[in-house]
Structure formats: C-alpha cells, structure tokens
C-alpha cells in the first residue's frame, strides 16, 4: 500500500480518536497508541509521540469550543496545571529512560489496574446524575473556585463550587505523570479529580479536563520531541483527523445528558484498562 493511503487511514483513525477524546475528556491519545502499535507496527515510543500531537490538536479544538460556551472553569484548570505540568515532565523523562531499559510492561499493567478501579468508582456514581452543591475549602473560597453554567439538556443553570483542592492537586500530579509517561491525555484521572475530588458537574469536569490536557501534553512534548519520539510526518494526518473528530464531539457534548457522558466515559475506561493489561502481559 502507498504511503499516502497509510496516512489517509491514519487520519480517519484520528477522527475517531478526536471524537471519543472530546466527548469523554480522555484526550483521544489512548485510541491512537494501540492502533499505531497493533495495526501500523509503529514502535511504542513513536506512537506515544503521535499521541501527544492528537492530544494537542484535540485540546485546542474542544478547549476553544468549551471556553466559548463557558463550560470550562478557567481558574480551576489553571490552578491544577501547577500539579499536572511537573508530573508530565517527570513522566516523559521516565519514559525516555524506560524505553531504553525495556521496563514498560509492568507499568502498563499497573496503569490498567488503576483505571479499572476508577471505572468501578465511575459506575457507582452513574446514578448520581443530579449535581449537589459541595462545601468549598479555604483555598477554594479564596481563589474563587465556583461558578455556574447553563445546561441546555436540563434547561437550567447549574451552580457548583469546589472542595478538596489538596486531594485534587495530588491526583492531578499523578495524572500528569501518567500522561507524560504514556503519552495519553490522562483525562481519565483529570476528570476523576475534577468530578470526584472537587465535586464539579461532569460537563464542567470534562470541559476543564480538555482545557488542561493540552498544557499537560505540551509539557511532555518538549521532552518527547528532544528524544526524537515525535514523527513530523505522522503528526500531520493525526492532527488534522483529531481536529475534525474533536470538532464534532464538542458540538455533541453540550446537548447530552450527564448520565450519557458518564456511561460513555466509564465504558471507554473499562475497555482501555483491559487492553492495557493484555498488552502489558504480552498479549496481542
């Protein structure tokens, strides 16, 4: 098959990745990595490099749409990036080391197990469709971590405020570390911190996660670029496809019910966890 057809197919895969990424807040990279490794025989390190490009394009697309719709909480997103950015830099640096040391399989299995735990936690919260107002901590009050948005599905204005900012910072550092190591958006963990720890509505969590994912990916890309893991030719179809998919996803999200978003998020989480464990154990 000609090189051009490979790139066209890759762009189509990136459309799907961008759509899933924007809809669930996971960034889309987790779709690109296994497809590149399994179907295109691309080395894992190069797949990680292509994945961060997907994430950057995805986050810029959905980030702008969600900011325009005021679904994104700029303050909370910016604040939590203090934890995700150093996590991502350390994670990417670890990947450079691990690729040379051939020690990634055990970490992939561990990641899969963690994600399954998060998926189960997500299932337990599925019935919790309505958002309840939490009690903000001192930092949350001082920095103004509260807000509101209009839910077009429920046709009402939802107000929220953040609690447990320390816990969220800890989860976000872990999210950055995982994102940097595996080249994924780590939106799974980011949404967990925003939704589970800060107690933000799922739509605000998803939009803010998308907003943050680009900055996290930017932090790790500096390391991955220097290591030669970002292939500039692969980047073009991946970025274009991810942008198209993310655009469609960002227009679909505001009209969806919270329950639908949460179920989609959980299903994606379980699927990728199983796949990660199988891959880590040396499966197909």
């Amino acid at each position: 098959m000609d090189l051009v057809w490979y790139l066209v197919i890759l762009a189509a895969v990136a459309v799907a990745a961008g759509f899933v990424g924007s809809l669930t807040g996971i960034g889309g990279g987790i779709v690109i990595i296994p497809v590149l490794v399994i179907f295109f025989n691309v080395p894992l390190a190069v797949a990680i490099g292509a994945s961060v490009i997907t994430i950057l394009a995805n986050s810029a697309t959905t980030g702008s749409a969600y900011i325009r719709d005021h679904l994104t909480d700029l303050r909370i997103g910016m604040f939590l990036e203090i934890a995700t950015v150093p996590g991502a830099i350390i994670g990417a640096a670890l990947t450079v080391y691990l690729v040379h040391a051939n020690l990634q399989d055990a970490l992939i299995v561990a990641l899969g197990v963690i994600l399954i735990v998060l998926a189960i936690a997500g299932l337990r919260r599925i019935r919790d469709d309505a958002h309840t107002l939490s009690v903000p901590d001192r930092r949350s009050r001082r920095l103004g971590f509260f807000g509101s948005y209009h839910d077009s599905q429920l046709n009402e204005t939802i107000t929220y405020q953040a609690e447990n900012t320390n816990r969220a910072l800890g989860i976000m550092f872990g999210a950055g570390l995982v994102a940097g190591m595996f080249g994924i958006g780590s939106g799974v963990l980011k949404v967990t911190a925003l939704d589970g720890a800060l107690k933000l509505p799922i739509k605000v969590s998803t939009a803010t996660s998308n907003f943050m994912i680009g900055v996290t990916a930017c932090a790790s890309t500096g390391v991955l670029l220097a290591a030669g893991y970002v292939n500039a030719v692969l980047a073009a179809p991946v970025a274009i496809g991810a942008t198209v998919g993310a655009l469609v996803g960002s227009y679909v999200l505001p009209g969806m019910r919270n329950r639908t978003v949460r179920i989609a998020f959980t299903l994606v989480l379980i699927g990728l966890s199983i796949e990660l464990i199988i891959r880590g154990l040396g499966g197909p």
Binding site: L3, P43, A57, S64, M78, I82, I89, L225, G228, V230
Partner: protein, 136 residues
C-alpha cells in the same frame, strides 16, 4: 448570601478573556494545521515512494529542532522543516493560552491567580526549553 455561596467574592473574568483565549487556541490550531497540511503534501510529492516503515524510521524532525537549521530548512523550502514548524506551532499554542490567562488575571487585579498562571508558564518553559534539550 452565605460565605459558601457560589456568587460570593469571585470577580468574573471579562468576556474578552474568554473570547481572546478562544481566538488564540483557534489561530494556533489553524496555523499549525495549514503548515502541517502543506508540509505533508510537499513531503509526499518528494518522498511518496517511501514505504510506511521507512518513513517512520526516518524521522526528519531531529534535523530541524535548532533555530538555525529550522530557518535554513524553511528558506530552502524543505517539507520536513515545514512539518517541524507545524508541530512547534501546535506545541506553542497552549503556552500562548497560559500567557493570555496570566495577562487577564493580572489585568483583573487577581494577584494570586496571576501568580498561578505565571508559575504554570515558567514550568512549561523549563520543560520545553531546558529539560527536553538536556535529555537530548
């Protein structure tokens, strides 16, 4: 109004903050996509006979990561240099968004949030400009 009320004490960012951040993200993304699209078409014209595996193995980006080599590649119309530039624009877009946030928080006299944004920007510059090249 209670102390915990969501409407208490926060100074909302002005609408132009949201508008400008949206514009920056879109402008960065569109610029990167235009450069990448042109670059990949030019690359395929010159290297269309390569197999997929050969293309992956021959990553051109490392040759153009320096400012001098990138400028030289762009001035001589090398497709790989344009692809590299597209990737760099994509990477720079979130940084520009953080700097815009810092500007609006400072303009809104929110000192703590401006410091938060500045800290994120410094961390990004350290990661991209210091740690990345150090590990190279």
């Amino acid at each position: 109004m209670t102390e915990n009320s969501p409407t208490a004490r926060r100074h909302d960012l002005p609408p132009d903050a949201y508008r400008d951040m949206t514009r920056i993200l879109r402008a960065g993304l569109i610029t990167a996509l235009v450069i990448l699209s042109g670059g990949v078409i030019a690359y395929l014209v010159e290297n269309g006979s390569l197999s997929f595996g050969e293309m992956v193995a021959k990553n051109p980006i490392l040759s153009y990561l320096g400012l001098d080599s990138l400028a030289r590649g762009l001035s001589t119309g090398q497709p790989e240099a344009f692809l590299t530039l597209g990737v760099l624009v994509l990477v720079a877009t979130p940084i520009a968004r953080v700097l815009t946030g810092m500007y609006f928080f400072a303009r809104n006299r929110e000192r703590e949030m401006a410091i938060v944004a500045m800290t994120v920007a410094i961390l990004l510059f350290v990661g991209v400009l210091v740690i990345g090249p150090f590990l190279r």
